[in-house]
Each structure stands twice: as structure tokens, then as C-alpha cells.
Symmetry: C2
């Protein structure tokens, strides 16, 4: 076991963050070898004169990002970081910059395709734990109205003439600034294409990259799968281990593009550790024409530790296509998503697809630009994060009585958790009993492209659109009907 | 020469329209045989006790629609109408209904793809006769602002949740009503798909119909050509005669889809006569999988006679795919277009593409719905029609001194006219001399997919975005520099 002398001398950053940064750099720079055992949280906290919770927070973050590996009853070990591809050097600085600009450190963009397999039946259920949907009760309507009014007053009727095919420059600059500070994505506005929803952008990508074979995590986000299929891409489902997409299976698939959600995989909630990220980047760098399509759909809602950096921010070889959206962070119906293209694809876009007009109204683009630039987005995210965190905590508290029968997974981030039965109960039984009692829950199996090796009796519980009372009421019902 | 006893007993319709309708029915019902010579306008006007101009108006409309054929110095003859496919019976009634509903008879939808080859160089010219662009000075900003404010006040935050994939039902109903009354298109809201621009809808169509070979008029609208090419459709340029796409060449091409603009061909301004329409419908009906893609892009701006009915309104066999947009009639940047699918393709859409989310913001859809339903659209069109008519008339008056050297074509509708040199002057010379004097004009040759048989020295003059003063000033300059 090593001693760690961490200088906690940065007054502007919390202690847990300084600990996190220090250990991360030790590992990244090779000063701390793989498999090194770290001091226990108790010991390090005594040594540094901070609370044990502070050290725990730092360790959790390092585990979440894959720098540390916890071993039950043995402690924490430095992970193996073989191919240390250049991590965006300015990311740490940018994150700090972001806070100075008013963004909280855990303020992240996010997005989701609007339609999903588990849309839920609307009024079919009294309590519907649909994993999609967001809290629209707290949509910033008055701000949106104010910006809309001011935009239309100030307009310059030129707002109604044809605009920039990639989206208005001002909006792209605002999104770039946001991505840089909150997601560590260092991109130029020239690389960005704003479009009316992620599905449209995938259509565009299809025209850029051709009908390449695409590897998808299994289980995955089915709506993206449907789009790829429709566009004629061969799709290879690749099994996941606890780090995400399995590399061996990816290699064996022969796919050219890997579609992944490294910050928070849907539906499993897995956060891809740094090593797997590096392996994926290395895989992509091996061959021309290989790309990683990073769908960074809901990284802004994280309840523990620092934000997980985007994979795109670590991409030194122009191999990551980054897909973002405002569907989850603002609202699905405003229909604004964006692609960040690596240089090679950008050149191809300009050659072959630059003639396509933008699909987003210029007035809407201007409203969103002001929403971002004038601090409204940041405030909205902070508010929503706090609201969602409250719902999340209420859900976990309500689930306490079920813990003897169910394992809870994917509960550090996002807007849903997974409940996995400890007993061999068929998923269908869980769904049917819940439905009979007026509660909607969603089976993990429907997110599989090919059936899982073994049925797990796992359901998804989304809570974003429910009130805390509905959450508690729903879980009480589930507790009762699943006890039978 | 026959006698025509036309009962002018309908008090609700103008005399010219009664004459037009009577003769049209005589021909359609076969009571007036092909090649029958009609009374001269002088004679018929004396007989009916109306002005000669009234009869001329009726004859012009019948010529425009292909029911009559004028022969210089000989008079008017009934055209050959071989295969009289069912014309939508309720079209005439609908048009009357439309007027009662407040729409003028010549109130038509229209649309244009937003980007075009001849976009013009922005500030490159002092006077830019770009054939694209619309008059945005008169965009109904205060109405739009009012509707936007009211929509956001009234919202029901559900407006920000995911909506109907085809577009909101209310908007589709409003567009259907409009199409029925103004364009004779009898469609159900179920057949309509609202999307963020015509290009997006062509991408969707590509996924529905597959990569079918497409026949396009030559010259044609280049932006649509680029979309088809990009999507991998083989494109066959088909030469035009004075009625539009040549049938022989269409048949020889082997294309499955004919992309046409029958109401007002772009760029030639040709209005497709009824006979060619019937031939096209018959061609499509011959074989399963054949379709006509009718781009009805600017039919609302017509300066003489009644509106030209849509081809879709005459389609009895589900062979016409109708593409409309609000880009020209409202503004390009609001990004709303729509497809009307025949039943067979509708079924395929529901099977294969129904999972795609709508690409238009629900708030924008609601604003547009109210704009249509509360009479604002009609008033806007009336206003724009009068503004454009004034510009059009000023342009034609300004062109008088050039008539000895140029033929004027395509001047009954739309937002541009064509000037064809009577002398063999190369198009390039015309363009270069104009540009050197700070005036932008656009050569017809750039709209050709394959070079025309002979260079015609023809330029397009768009006038929508210019003031009457700019128009006159620009033409004076052209007159001078082209005299050299």
C-alpha cells in the first residue's frame, strides 16, 4: 500500500476534486503503476485531514471513470491504462473555466431521441415509470416566451430568409462553448451541424459515411437501431461486459462504426471506464474509415461525483462523431440536435451534403442561442438537476423494502434505474403484475437486439415525469404485487 | 364554327368563369369534339352580351389548362382529350366553397426548396434579379408574434413533449382544408406528412419508394436534382416540349417516378395542359410502382385567369405524390413542407417509417395552424399577390423597350420571367455585361441537367425581393448594356 501526499492547496476547488485530479494524473502519467493498491478511504482521510466522505467521493469518481478498480473487501487498485491516448489537455482547465462562467461542474448537455420503444401507454397506467419522458411541468415557459417575443420584436426580417445550411453561426458558437466547458469537447463551429432531431442527423451521416456496418451495444437504444436498419446499414449487436461494448466481439463483427453511449449507456446505465474508452479509440485509429459514434444523450443528469468526460474530448485522431441534442435537457419538441464531425467527415460533408438546407427554423435557433448564451440554460439545468435528484432520492428510498429481492443498478445518473430480481422471476411476470395493478414498468429485454444469454428478470423504472408522491405510491404498489 | 349558347345565370360567379366552366365541361363530356373551332372572342362576346376581354380571359384560362389550342390567325380549337381520367368532381364546388370560406379563387399554396443554384451573390449586385428569394419586407411579423405569444401563453406544456410523427393532427387538417379549396387536392390528414423542408421529405420518400429511377424535366429545379442524386436515385433528364415533359422520352427512360411541376414549371414557367396531364397519369397507371411526384411550388402567385388545378386533384388511381411547402407562401426559414401520399405509399410509410419523429417543432406547428385557420394566411396571400402583381406589371412595363430584341416568357405566374434573345447572343455575354454593370441576372443554361440542344441566350429575371424602383432601375441598366 502506498502513501499519497496530496497537496490540498487549491482554494478554488473542493477537496474531493483535488484528490480526484491528483490520483488521476498519477495514473495517467504512469507515476502510479497499474494494480497499485490505494490507501483506504479511512486512512487517506486521516492523513489529509478531510472527511472520509470526501475521499469516498473522489474514489467513486475515479472508479466511475475507470482509473480505479474496487475489489470487494480488498480496497481500491489503480487500473491498467495501456494505450494512453492524448486526453484533451485543456479539459480540466475548461471545466474550471466553465464553473467560472457560471456552469456548475456537473452541468452537462444531454439528449435523447424523442420516440422510444418504451414510450408507455399514455393513460394506460395510473403510475407510469416510462424511462423516456422528461419533467415538462418545469419547462421554462416564461423564459421561452420572453425570448421568443424579443426575438420576433427585434427581428430583422432576415430571420425569415434562408439561413446557414449547418445552422446559424451564433448558435453553433454557443453550443461549442457549452460543449467545451461542460463536456470537454474541443470543437470548432465549422465542425457542427445543427439539425431537426437526432434521426435527421443520422440520415445525413448515412449519406456522408455510406452504408457502413454499425456495431451497437446489446442491449441498446432501439430507436437508433431502427434508423440504422431503415437506412440500410448492417447492424451488428455486440455483447457488453461491465465496461461496455466487448472489444473482441467488436473486432470480430467487422463493423466500421461503433455506436456507443459511453457517459451513461442506455438502458444499462453503465459508465464506460477510461480503459475501454482507450481501447475503442485505438480500435478506431487502426483503420481508415473506422469511426466511433458517441451518442452523449443524458450526461447532464448525474447525481454523484463529477461529470463523466465525453469520449470525443479524448479523441486525438479525428475518430469520434459526437451526437448531442436538447431533447432531454430542454424539451423533445423543440427539435434541435447537433453533430460534431471529425475533419475527414467534415470535408466530405462540405463536398457532398453542403447543399442541404438547415432543418431548424432560424427563429427557433435564435431563441435557443439566447437561452444558452444568457445563462438561462445553466439555470434551467441546475434546477432540473435538483428536481431530478430529489425524485431519484425519493425513488431509492421507496425501493429500500425491495432491496432484499432486487438489485438496483444504474442509479448514479440519468433518469431511470434498473431493478434486477435476485430470484429467477420472468420479466413478463413482473410486467404483468405491475400492469394489472395500474403501474407501468418496462422490461430490459425489449432493448435487446438479439435475445440475452439468460433472462434476468430486470425492469426499468423511469421517474422523470412523475411527482415524488406518484413515485412513492407506485413503488408501494409494486412492492405489494411483486411479493405474491 | 359552332354556336355556343352559354347560360350566364350564376349570380355568384363572374361571367368569365361561367364561360370557362361551360366550355371546359363541353369538352370534358365529349359534347364538343376535338378540333372543333370555337367562335371568335368578338363574336362570342357579342352573342353573350359581355365584353370581349371577359371572353378572352375564359379562353386564356382554357388554353392555359390545355382544353383549347390557339392557332395564330385561325382562332381557338378544342383540344384532343383522349383518355379522360376522372377529374376530381368536387373541385369546382370546392373552389366555390373556398371563396365562401374567404379564400380568393386564385389563392394557392406554393413552396420552394430554400436553396437554389441561382441564389445570387448577396451583395455582389446593386440590383439582383435572383429568381429565388421572396419579399420578406412584408412578412406578417406582428401576426406571427401575436400567434407565437398566444401559443406560448396558452401552452399546455404538453406542446413541448414529443408529438405526432406525421405532424400534429390539427395542422394536417388545416392544410388539407386549404389544399382542397385552393388546389383541388382531395386528401385526408392521414395521408399527410409534415416535415422540416422539402429536402427532408424527399429523404423520407427515398426510404419509402426505394432508389427508383427518376425522370426530371430538362431544364428543372436543380436543388431537387442534387437531392435525388445524393440519395442514390438514377436521374434521367427528359426533354420538354411546349406542354412539358415529353412522353416518348419519358417512356424510353424507363424511370419509375416522374418529378414534375405541372402548375408552373421551374424555370420555364410552362403550365402543363390537361392532355399532357392525362398522358402522364395514364403512364403512371400502366404499371405498379410508377408514380408522379408533383412539386406544386408556387401556384399561388398567378396573375391571369383562374388557378391551375393541381395534377393530384385529377388522380383517380393513387399515382400522384404531392409535395407542398410554405417556403414561398410564408417564408423559407419557418421550415414547413408537406407530402400527400397515395394510399399504397401511405401503407408503406406506416410499416417502415412511422417510427421517425416529426422534424417540426410543435410550437411552430401550432402557430402555423392558427395562421391558416384564422384567416391570416389568406389575407397574407392576397396582400402578397397584389404586391407581386404590381412588381410583375412594373417589370413588364419596364421591359417594353427590350421587346424588339427579347421575347418574354413565363410571365403569367410565379416570381420570375424569362427573357429570350431574338438575336443569337450567348447567354454568357448577357450575364457578363449585366454583372459588369452591377446587375445580377441568371442564365437558363444552369438549370439544365444535360446541355440543351441549342444555346438560346435566355436569362431569368426574378423580381420578388426587389422594390418596383429597383426593378425599373435594373432594367434600364440592362437595356443600356445589352444594346452595345
Amino acid at each position: 500500500m502506498m502513501e499519497l501526499w496530496i497537496p490540498l492547496n487549491d482554494k478554488s476547488a473542493p477537496a474531493y476534486e483535488q484528490i480526484y485530479r491528483f490520483i488521476k494524473e498519477e495514473i495517467r502519467q504512469g507515476r502510479m503503476a497499474a494494480h497499485t493498491r490505494l490507501p483506504s478511504t479511512r486512512r487517506l482521510s486521516q492523513q489529509l485531514g478531510v472527511s472520509r466522505g470526501t475521499v469516498q467521493l473522489a474514489y467513486d469518481q475515479l472508479v466511475a471513470e475507470g482509473y480505479l478498480e474496487p475489489e470487494p473487501c480488498r480496497g481500491y487498485f489503480a487500473a491498467e491504462i495501456e494505450v494512453l491516448l492524448r486526453l484533451e489537455e485543456n479539459r480540466t482547465e475548461d471545466a474550471a473555466q466553465g464553473r467560472r462562467d457560471g456552469f456548475q461542474a456537473d452541468c452537462h448537455p444531454a439528449d435523447r431521441f424523442p420516440a422510444d420503444a418504451a414510450e408507455g401507454g399514455g393513460n394506460r397506467f395510473q403510475v407510469d415509470f416510462s424511462p423516456r419522458g422528461i419533467d415538462l411541468e418545469h419547462f421554462p415557459l416564461s423564459t421561452w416566451r420572453k425570448l421568443s417575443r424579443e426575438t420576433l420584436t427585434a427581428a430583422n426580417k432576415s430571420l425569415f430568409s434562408s439561413g446557414d445550411p449547418q445552422g446559424e453561426r451564433g448558435l453553433r458558437e454557443a453550443i461549442c462553448r457549452y460543449l467545451r466547458s461542460a463536456r470537454g469537447v474541443s470543437c470548432r463551429p465549422e465542425q457542427m451541424i445543427v439539425g431537426a432531431g437526432s434521426e435527421y442527423l443520422l440520415m445525413l451521416l448515412n449519406q456522408l459515411a455510406g452504408r457502413q456496418a454499425i456495431a451497437m451495444e446489446n442491449p441498446t437504444y432501439k430507436q437508433a437501431y431502427r434508423v440504422f436498419q431503415r437506412l440500410g446499414h448492417p447492424v451488428f449487436p455486440v455483447p457488453m461486459d461491465k465496461s461496455g461494448m466487448e472489444m473482441e466481439a467488436l473486432r470480430a463483427s467487422g463493423a466500421q462504426i461503433a455506436y456507443i453511449m459511453p457517459s451513461h449507456q442506455y438502458p444499462t446505465g453503465i459508465v464506460m471506464p477510461v480503459r475501454r474508452r482507450q481501447e475503442l479509440l485505438a480500435w478506431a485509429a487502426e483503420q481508415e474509415g473506422r469511426y466511433i459514434l458517441e451518442d452523449d444523450y443524458d450526461s447532464e443528469f448525474r447525481y454523484r461525483g463529477r461529470p463523466i468526460p465525453s469520449l470525443c474530448g479524448s479523441d486525438a485522431h479525428g475518430k469520434v462523431i459526437y451526437l448531442g441534442t436538447f431533447s432531454k435537457s430542454v424539451a423533445p419538441a423543440i427539435r434541435v440536435s447537433y453533430l460534431v464531425l471529425p475533419e475527414a467527415l467534415l470535408a466530405r460533408y462540405q463536398e457532398t451534403c453542403g447543399f442541404y438546407s438547415s432543418t431548424v427554423s432560424r427563429v427557433d435557433q435564435e431563441i435557443l442561442r439566447r437561452f444558452l448564451e444568457e445563462g438561462y440554460f445553466e439555470r434551467h439545468l441546475n434546477r432540473m438537476r435538483s428536481l431530478y435528484r430529489n425524485k431519484h432520492d425519493r425513488l431509492l428510498a421507496a425501493l429500500e423494502p425491495l432491496r432484499d429481492r432486487f438489485r438496483i443498478q444504474g442509479d448514479t445518473a440519468g433518469l431511470h434505474v434498473l431493478l434486477e430480481s435476485r430470484e429467477p422471476v420472468p420479466e413478463r411476470t413482473l410486467l404483468e403484475r405491475a400492469a394489472a395493478a395500474g403501474v407501468g414498468v418496462y422490461g430490459l429485454s425489449e432493448y435487446y437486439l438479439t435475445p440475452p444469454a439468460q433472462e434476468s428478470g430486470t425492469v426499468l423504472l423511469g421517474y422523470a415525469s412523475l411527482t415524488p408522491e406518484q413515485i412513492e405510491q407506485g413503488i408501494q404498489v409494486l412492492d405489494a404485487v411483486w411479493r405474491k
